[in-house]
């Protein structure tokens, strides 16, 4: 249904963490496709494996304890997991960039922001210092930082959280990446700054045309930004569809539960408690047998407790990992 060229194709990615308390299957069979220039959302609760998926793409899983034990990550048709350290390093920050949750701690406190952005540029482009400085100031201007020449020689502690996240974006985009991974990039910011940063990312996406993988636990963020949304639960993708379908006609009980739990301001206020999904996220050390959502699922049957469902394409472009998908 999407005619654009496939940029990233993750197949059955499995990243486990080997801790003293046992093996944590943080990512256990994630499939994800990102087309060129597409904005894709990856949504899930804490611990569902969203960040680990992102770090697996750029191969920054701390090892030990983490290890990618299976699957493929195709980027332009080449498996990133087959590349050696040096080859992956050259892709990081050049073709694939990433911004992180904590703008307050993601910048090195002892170097100026100009130095840190210029470094990202000179690591991937053969240009001299003066040229890199010019490009850095352009980038700072692009991400809406006032007085970029003066800001160039400032240190991170002289900037607010929102400004620092703009610096991170400038750094990430300085080499014109084809994919920008945003790992909860707006979570730590207050709501007005969050909106500004999302606006900025959307504007830059239109202008520069890179694909974005937005990782968040906030459905409102992806509702605004993403074309395609993937819902992750306990290390697996449970539903994948266009944003419109996810919000209008969710098929997986988990997605449905998530959407039910969002307060709706259009409805009349009642004293009814907000619907919530029963139970807790399973402990990563003791994943339930069968479908991982079955202990919390109102529709679970004997089959769900015994067998693990495969992900199936219900309608073109709408994938669900469930034996009993909700009828729309």
């Amino acid at each position: 249904m999407d005619n654009r060229e496939v940029l990233v194709d993750i197949k059955n990615l499995r990243t486990f963490f080997y801790t003293e308390d046992g093996v944590v299957p943080a990512v256990d069979g994630v499939d994800l496709t990102i087309h060129r220039g597409e904005v894709v959302g990856l949504v899930g609760e804490s611990g569902c494996g969203k960040s680990v998926t992102a770090l697996s793409i750029i191969r920054l899983i701390p090892n030990p304890p983490g290890k990618i034990i299976g699957g493929e990550i195709f980027f332009h048709g080449e498996d990133l997991l087959k590349k050696n350290e040096e080859e992956t390093r050259l892709i990081r920050g050049d073709k694939i960039s990433m911004i992180f949750q904590e703008p307050m701690t993601s910048l090195n406190p002892v170097y100026t922001i100009g130095d840190q952005i210029s470094e990202a540029i000179t690591l991937h482009q053969k240009i001299d210092g003066a040229e890199a400085k010019k490009r850095t100031i352009e980038m700072l201007h692009l991400v809406g930082i006032p007085e970029p020449e003066r800001r160039f020689s400032q240190y991170p502690h002289e900037m607010s959280g929102g400004m620092r996240q703009r610096v991170m974006i400038a750094m990430a985009l300085s080499s014109n990446p084809e994919l920008l991974i945003s790992d909860e990039a707006t979570t730590a910011l207050d709501v007005t700054i969050q909106a500004q940063i999302l606006d900025l990312m959307r504007g830059l996406q239109k202008k520069l045309g890179m694909a974005i993988l937005i990782i968040t636990h906030n459905l409102a963020v992806v509702a605004e930004m993403a074309e395609t949304i993937n819902i992750a639960y306990a290390g697996k993708i449970v539903e994948s569809a266009t944003a419109k379908e996810i919000f209008k006609a969710p098929r997986h009980p988990y997605t449905y539960g998530l959407l039910q739990s969002i307060p709706k301001f259009t409805e009349k206020r009642t004293n009814e408690p907000l619907p919530a999904i029963e139970g807790m996220v399973p402990s990563p050390y003791h994943m339930p047998k069968g479908c991982r959502f079955n202990p919390r699922c109102p529709f679970a049957t004997e089959k769900c407790r015994e067998e693990e469902p495969e992900i199936i394409e219900l309608t073109p472009g709408h994938l669900v990992r469930c034996f009993h998908p909700i009828e729309s």
Binding site: R89, S97, P109, H124
Partner: protein, 329 residues
Amino acid sequence: MRDYIVRRVLGMIPLILIVMIVSFGIFSLVPNPFAALIENPRIKKSDIQRLIKAWGFDLPWYLRFFKWFGGVIRGDWGPSLLYPGSLARDIIARALPVTVRLMGIELLVSLAVALPIGIISAVKQYSVTDYVVTVFSFLGMSMPSFWLGLMMMMLFSVVLKRPDGMTPLLPAGGIITPGLEDASFWVKFGDRAQYLVLPVFVLSFISIGGWARYMRSSMLEVVRQDYIRTARAKGAPERLVINKHALRNAMIPIVTLIALSVPGIVGGAAITETIFNIPGMGSLIIQAEIKSDYPTAMIGLMLASVLVIVFNLVADIVYAWIDPRIKYS
């Protein structure tokens, strides 16, 4: 920044005065060195009284302090009791260069070895290298210097000989071979160097462990920071991540430790100096303290105090230079 330094330097003056008064006061608690002579029946009581009066021990300590302090201001630190006939200043002037050379080289050697191995053992945490470094660090930290010193002496000065089969491979003690006064600079240099090998080795072996552990833990703290992940995410090679992004942050606490250990250079290492028969500050100051040679001991104390105070300021200045978040005004 300049105002800050000026203010700090001015603040040192009262501080040093207080240190002088307190250490002199504590010193006066040591019984006067002539009291013991009463035991000796061949010395006349009146002679003892005369000595006590001549050295001012009949006065209360604060009056003695003013007398001593008056001299110090004029650059006269008084005569030595330990070495009658010599000035305390001259005694110190002979021991100080010996100790500074030994301890300075020891500090440089320790840091040059310990900081890189600390970094390596942090970067490769829980590797074989890390375990080997850890074992040797703790071995060094718990090693008694006199025992290691004697063992080294045994090996290099008794068992191992030079090709001629007669002279020991390295001298067992001392600082210089007599009779080389007219030799060329390089001959003298080599001569002094061979006397330094064993004591420097012993002292470094003991202190390397501590430095390596400090460096390791500081580095471990830094490499798990978010900005290190950012550096990797922008495609920086591992060498750059460690040597640029991590190291400068990890050095912030280490620099303070280094600056604060520099004053130790004048303090000497009494045990090792004694073992290797080195006429340095460590053994001198202990002798002076035991024998109530307060003019000599006070110079040693004042040197150490002034250096501690000065290097505290140096640590703060270097701190601000490495870490831009620190501003003094």
